[in-house]
Symmetry: C2
Subunit: 296 residues, 2 copies
Amino acid sequence: MRAVLDCIPCIIRQGLNTARLATDDPKVQREILDRIMQELIGTPLTGTPGDHSNVAYRVVREVTGVDDPYYELKRKYNRIALELYPRLKELVVSSEDPLHTAVKLAAAGNVIDLGIGVQFDVEREVEEVLRTPFSVDHFPGFVEELERAERLIYIGDNAGEIVFDKVLIEEIRKEADCEVTFVVRGGPCINDALREDAEEVGMEEVARVIDTGSDGIGIPWADVSEEFKEEFLKADVRIAKGQGNFETLSERSDPIYFILKAKCEAVARELGVGYGEVVFKRHPAAPPRSSLSPPS
Amino acid sequence: MRAVLDCIPCIIRQGLNTARLATDDPKVQREILDRIMQELIGTPLTGTPGDHSNVAYRVVREVTGVDDPYYELKRKYNRIALELYPRLKELVVSSEDPLHTAVKLAAAGNVIDLGIGVQFDVEREVEEVLRTPFSVDHFPGFVEELERAERLIYIGDNAGEIVFDKVLIEEIRKEADCEVTFVVRGGPCINDALREDAEEVGMEEVARVIDTGSDGIGIPWADVSEEFKEEFLKADVRIAKGQGNFETLSERSDPIYFILKAKCEAVARELGVGYGEVVFKRHPAAPPRSSLSPPS
């Protein structure tokens, strides 16, 4: 999707949130805001929201020299999520449809997004998401595609959240005899999971871990590695978590199951749902079931 | 209170909301955002949030030539609130403490704030505010001061909301034999009530109506009329509604009863309450009851 005018104040707010993690000096924080505004003025919004948000994070890096302002927070949220892991497994095991519950938990994990600056309470949100039906739920089609899958790619989002992703991948592997590749960012990018986060939560036990080759938000196609592109293109089932991945992948024709909470009006509009709603959406939509071609 | 760094993205968002009312042309909307950013860069945040927000509204006016972008919305919200008026009176009359209920309704009216861009539903919010106790409630002291009051000044906020203010003023006049002056802005200022709004809701039936002499947000002391200042200073009870009035009056030593919902983190912090909470707060706080001096 293309960035919209609403992205401009949002990018500046993201810059402020990040500046406050990188420095305690209000003068430096202000310098960061001024430089972000300077860069935004006159810049046509031709890219995705993620492309334009990258400016905010780059400016924080340039001004403060801090390469990974969310480093400590990522440790903290991995720890919180790992403490929750036994409870998540219990919820899955005790449910009527473990795979569907695991998809819902993966969505619940997406509320853990520090970059966007909204207050949250992990446990309460988990229960809330489990209780609330998805606004769009393409689960039946997913189960069908999964049965025939040979290669599944799963593009992660935030630290902490990846513990929830691991729970879903464990259920996927029970249902399908397919190779699973989990994707992290190639370098510090907001609070997004990197290789060290994947290691911290033991993701290698359930999936091959690769990175995008880029420290840009989501999947900036012009900037990601050939290895990533190859894995992405040859996968027969693709899952992508969170807004950054949706913003940067929503215009591709390759079918992707997006799991995310619409954390801003622009993304909600693009998804065709209400602000704050949570979806499990195949995009582009699947053809009618009867016309699905057999696996090649 | 002084503006904080969080005000910067917020001012730009206010500019965007207002630009969209003043013009349908996205290029002009973008020009407005760029000009607001240009003005903000390097400007020290020495004023109140309201002082700095004025920039956004001035730029919209300069670029589009539209003097009062909220004109139609103000008509609409006066109409909605007037339709609600019989129900508000009913709620007051049927309650155990009509004056306290009227104060709560005046607070409920403050959720009608189009400038801040949050979705709302008037009736639901009214019931919600009535149900929820104020986070700070200086009602007992207010009743005491009201008994001895000779001149009360009531500084309004938004169109629509002033219908709720009228309901409170009607209750005040039942309790206290005092002159009541109701204050509107001196010129178009977001969706704030002007003289025509006061006329539209029949405010003159219950109060003398004056204006601030300024089209600035809240009470920009350097810019308001002598008539306003005189009325303000000689009043023995002062009520001020909403964030704009709080932001611009919170550093004055004259005691004021603020009725508002904390619609941003910075104002919540200044009030010492949580984001989204609603207060009826005397500021500065009253001296202990026993030491109150008799009326002069």
